[in-house]
């Protein structure tokens, strides 16, 4: 594993690997996380290194529990790391706010992955605004090497401030690769100490004042931090203040416009609290300031407030507030790039600028390119579940509504899931929404209510809503799409699995045990048996709820790993092509990527490269034209 290479070596790491390495170089003892893009790989890397380094890694049920565990280690004097995505910080926020008040002992680093443009997220939340609200310092790496540096230094900083420190790392840094000169990994030597006399209490208004003092100390410290750096002429009239990967976009824009002699760039690596004295020193000499940051105008608002407070009224500001720094979605939305900053800089300096012209050939190619739609994987059990639910809704005929949740099955909102999902919000929220809708019966709402959620989401945040539903006699069907893993983020284990992140045996907590323990009825079925599942959904919809239908089938990607697949093929004699009344059902409607249409033969075909061998399409084909050859050699 490259990330475990010897100190002194220069190796190529991904941002996530660099962060993991940084934590190990800082001597981290305790790592906890709930997986989320773009940071899901970090705990995985640390888990692989756990045996060699002696630290502990767990995939917790959610980010709040993860942060609580990491805090415990910190209270006992150990260095701890908690990793999450921006949405995860919201889940942990109640505790994070309290933890900011109580402070910590051992260095505690909260590594949050922000996802500007929401490549694999519900929203592009800017973690810095949350950290400002709860008074947590924020570091913001702009490169892979800096991700390692900042993670490592964040532990010392946390101990210096006696406060958790947040490292905000965006997708483009987490997923980039870059050279890192490795430092030494010290042995995990600290021993936990938490005696009867130790107190970590938040119950005092005085603590807020103390917290403000800590933040003031942080601002002072950041003013001298090497993570902030100026590059440019000694005298300039224009300053770009940049953070994260936008630092590089700003540099390139300046270079392309040949403004190196005129424009200075202040790279901010410490974005909260703002290093006021450093900023003022740079602001005093310039006329105009351009902001290059993703997502919110966070530094921008802070700097403008600072300038106003200091009476620097001669400055012109160019950023999201002025509308100069804006991508195709407008200011404050989406990622930045070189072109956006080039346009902003040219606008601020009054230089001619025209957007790059897309070559005609590229334009025509763009028109010919098919739209790449969302798609569940070939053989995905969710597709089978969704078809069964869709069928059940039609068969039931009462206009049942379907409430969604967060996971691979969020794609149920798209064509690949037959546009079934009518609401999608946050982890576990579907159960609460379903409960609320079903309570509207007293006002005349008479549609059956179904919610779907995955197994990992179930453990993460659905349990309180289910308890609430039982107590208040809500009436809905909760369909638990149990694919036996946290599939979307890379198959991390959850409490329903046999082994933990570190490969140790876990004491498995089966969902049906929890559900029945709550006193809720729970049926279990295999979604690959679509017809039976549809009938079961109809049956369950007619029974008083809340009740749970557990559709269990391993994620197709996991099921076929390292095994010989069942082979599925189309019998061209039996497939009638367009003469069949099925109207190309398998490839056009059911929509598994492995079901394709052979234009030349005028017949359905199986794309063996992607087919998982599940055989669901074979059961749905009205002509028995799809043949499944089981591994044992038994034809069906």
């Amino acid at each position: 594993m490259t990330v475990m290479a010897q100190a002194g070596k220069k190796v190529a790491l991904t941002g996530n690997e660099a962060i993991a390495r940084g934590a190990m170089e800082a001597g981290v003892s305790y790592v906890a996380s709930y997986p989320g893009s773009p940071t899901a790989e970090i705990p995985g890397v640390l888990a692989l290194a756990a045996a060699a380094c002696g630290h502990y890694v767990e995939w917790s049920v959610n980010e709040k529990v993860a942060m609580e565990g990491a805090a415990a280690a910190s209270f006992a004097g150990l260095r701890s790391l908690v990793v999450m995505k921006a949405d995860g910080l919201n889940v942990a926020l109640d505790f994070a706010g309290a933890l900011a008040l109580s402070g910590c002992r051992g260095g505690l680093v909260v590594l949050v992955g922000d996802d500007p443009a929401a490549h694999s997220s519900i929203r592009e939340e800017d973690t810095r605004t949350i950290c400002k609200a709860v008074h947590l310092p924020v570091l913001e790496p702009s490169s892979v090497a800096e991700a390692r540096d900042m993670t490592r230094e964040a532990f010392s900083l946390s101990e210096f401030l006696a406060l958790p420190v947040v490292v905000r790392c965006v997708t483009r840094v987490c997923h980039a690769s870059g050279d890192v000169t490795l430092g030494a990994i010290p042995p995990v030597e600290r021993r936990p100490v938490f005696g009867r006399e130790d107190r970590v209490i938040t119950f005092s208004a005085r603590l807020h004042a103390l917290l403000e003092q800590k933040m003031a100390r942080a601002a002072e410290h950041f003013a001298a931090s090497l993570f902030n750096a100026y590059s440019g002429p000694g005298q300039s009239d224009t300053l770009i203040i940049a953070s994260g990967p936008a630092v590089f976009y700003a540099r390139e824009a300046r270079e392309l416009l040949e403004q190196e002699d005129r424009v200075g760039i202040l790279k901010l690596g410490t974005t909260w609290p703002l290093p006021a004295s450093l900023l003022l020193a740079h602001l005093r000499g310039v006329k105009r300031v351009i902001f290059a940051e993703e997502v919110e105008p966070f530094i921008e608002d802070g700097v403008m407030a600072l300038a106003a407070a200091e009476g620097l009224l001669h400055l012109s500001f160019y950023g999201k507030r002025s509308g100069h720094v804006a991508g195709s979605f407008g200011p404050g939305a989406g990622e930045l790039d070189v072109d956006i900053l080039k346009e902003a800089l040219a606008g601020a300096l009054g230089l001619p600028y025209s957007r790059p012209v897309v070559a005609a050939v590229a334009q025509s190619l763009g028109q010919e390119m098919p739209v790449r739609e969302f798609a569940l994987c070939a053989g995905c059990p969710h597709r089978a579940s969704f078809w069964a639910v869709k069928a059940a809704l039609e068969l039931d005929g009462r206009g049942g509504v379907v409430i969604g949740d967060i996971g691979c099955y969020t794609l149920g909102m798209a064509g690949t899931g037959y546009h079934l999902l009518q609401t999608v919000h946050s982890m576990g929220s579907g159960v609460g929404i379903a409960g609320g809708l079903s309570q509207l019966r007293r006002f005349g709402f008479d549609r059956p209510v179904i919610c779907v959620l995955g197994d990992s989401t179930f453990y993460h945040a659905a349990l309180p809503a289910l308890v609430n539903a039982r107590f208040h006699r809500s009436n809905f069907l909760c369909i638990l799409l149990d694919n036996e893993t946290t599939a979307m983020t890379g198959h991390q284990p959850h409490p329903g699995r046999l082994t933990t992140a570190m490969g140790e045996a876990g004491d498995t907590v089966l969902p049906e045990e929890l559900i029945r323990g709550m006193g809720l009825p729970c049926s279990v079925a295999d979604p690959y048996d679509v017809e039976k599942t549809a009938v079961l959904v109809c049956d369950e919809m007619r029974l008083p709820g809340p009740r749970v239908l557990l559709l269990r089938r391993a994620c197709a990607l996991v099921a076929v790993k390292g095994r010989e697949k069942d082979t599925v093929s189309v019998d061209p004699e039996k497939c009638l092509g367009d003469a069949c009344g099925c109207a190309r059902f398998c490839s056009r409607v059911f929509g598994c990527p492995a079901n394709i249409w052979d234009e030349t033969a005028g017949r359905a075909r199986i794309d063996e490269a992607v087919c998982s061998g599940c055989g669901v399409c074979a059961a749905l084909c009205p002509r028995q034209a799809i043949v499944v050859k089981r591994r044992e050699g038994v034809g069906t």
């Binding site: 069928a391 037959y418 549809a534 009344g581 099925c582 749905l620 009205p622």
Partner: protein, 367 residues
């Protein structure tokens, strides 16, 4: 348009579906749950077998007579038939209705190898379901009338998928008509060299109850195990483990499937053999022999001592004819479009000319 969209708009959405099940399992776009047939997804095809096999999408009795019997009917009340008897099973299956004739004939056809399987309506009164019976026991388990509509023909289509053709069917008149239409269909991809159903055992049926009937049964019968139910002319009788309960038929009228009010055929006119009650002697059935195949099966049943028959009392015949005609005449008096009938003026006049079509309440003969 003669495809799924028409089926949905003109039949399903208007509540005219009889839940015969003939369109279910033909393609992936139609399904059935209990007695509700529904379009699962628009197939987008302008023409489809689902529309053509539907007993409500268009039914020309003259055409049906010609294709089944090779001749036109003389009796507009009961259709083509060669004989009519009272009949009963020598050894009546447990739970069988009246004389147990239909169950006995179905079991015999299976055992004699006339058909590889029989589509019957199994399950109990509260949860009836289509069953493709391949053993005598499975046929016997389907004994006893179910008063709700069950898409039994879905089991025929399932059988087709498994390579089973030339099946037996114990079905309502609409199911017999649908299966006959299926055998004749010319929709590409659905033409059959061997018809899906080879033996048609029709049941008398004046109406089926809507799904609400289940609720009625389970509430009114106090959720007791329903052993047997019966609809003689005036009332519903439900026999449970706790005893016998009766309800006047007028109370149940709102629970009748709306589509049944537009049905022209109460005696399964295109079956090989039609079986119903006698409205006279609860231990016997009415048995109408219609085709050569029907005659052969009856002869076999008598030869093997499976059935016994006696002459149909001449004084009862006008009552049966009046009940069947009454239903036809009420349909002709109602919204003709909803019946899906293709009748020429002459035919219609002939039906209306028939004597004895008393208005009645339409419950002349239970099945």
């Amino acid at each position: 348009m003669t495809g799924q969209e028409s089926l949905r708009q003109k039949i399903l959405d208007r509540g005219l579906c009889t839940a015969c099940g003939m369109c279910v399992n033909l393609c992936p776009y139609l399904g059935a749950y209990r007695d509700r047939v529904a379009a699962l997804h628009p197939c987008g095809l302008a023409d489809g077998a689902c529309w053509h096999v539907c007993p409500r999408s268009g039914l020309d009795p003259k055409q049906m007579d010609l294709s089944v019997f090779g001749r036109l009917r003389e009796d507009h009340a009961l259709g083509c038939f060669s004989a009519i008897y009272f009949s009963r099973a020598v050894s009546k299956a447990p739970g069988a209705q009246y004389g147990g004739t239909a169950t006995a004939l179905a079991a015999l056809a299976l055992e004699a190898g006339l058909v590889p399987a029989v589509a019957v309506t199994g399950g109990d009164a509260l949860a009836p379901k289509p069953v493709l019976a391949v053993t005598r026991e499975e046929v016997l388990a389907g004994a006893g009338s179910k008063f709700t509509a069950v898409p039994t023909l879905a089991a025929v289509n399932r059988g087709q998928k498994q390579g089973l053709t030339g099946l037996g069917l114990v079905g309502r008149p609409c199911q017999v008509a649908a299966a006959r239409k299926m055998a004749e269909t010319t929709v590409p991809g659905y033409e059959s060299t061997v018809p899906p159903v080879a033996l048609y055992l029709g049941l008398f049926c004046f109406f089926a109850f809507a799904p609400e009937f289940y609720g009625f049964l389970s509430c009114e019968a106090k959720a007791e195990w329903v052993v047997r139910s019966d609809i003689p002319p005036e009332e519903l009788v439900v026999v449970t483990a706790a005893g016998e309960q009766r309800w006047p038929l007028a109370e149940l009228k709102p629970l009748v499937r709306p589509g049944c009010h537009h049905c022209f055929d109460s005696t399964a006119e295109w079956a090989d053999l039609s079986v119903g009650s006698t409205e006279y002697d609860p231990d016997w059935n009415t048995l109408v022999v219609r085709t050569v195949l029907g005659e052969k099966l009856l002869a076999l049943a008598l030869e093997r001592g499976v059935l016994e028959i006696r002459p149909y009392p001449p004084e009862r015949l006008p009552l049966l004819r009046r009940a069947a005609l009454g239903k036809k005449q009420r349909v002709l008096a109602g919204d003709r479009e909803l019946s899906g009938l293709a009748l020429d003026f002459e035919y219609e006049a002939a039906v209306l000319r028939q004597q004895g079509g008393a208005s009645g309440d339409g419950n002349g003969t239970g099945r």
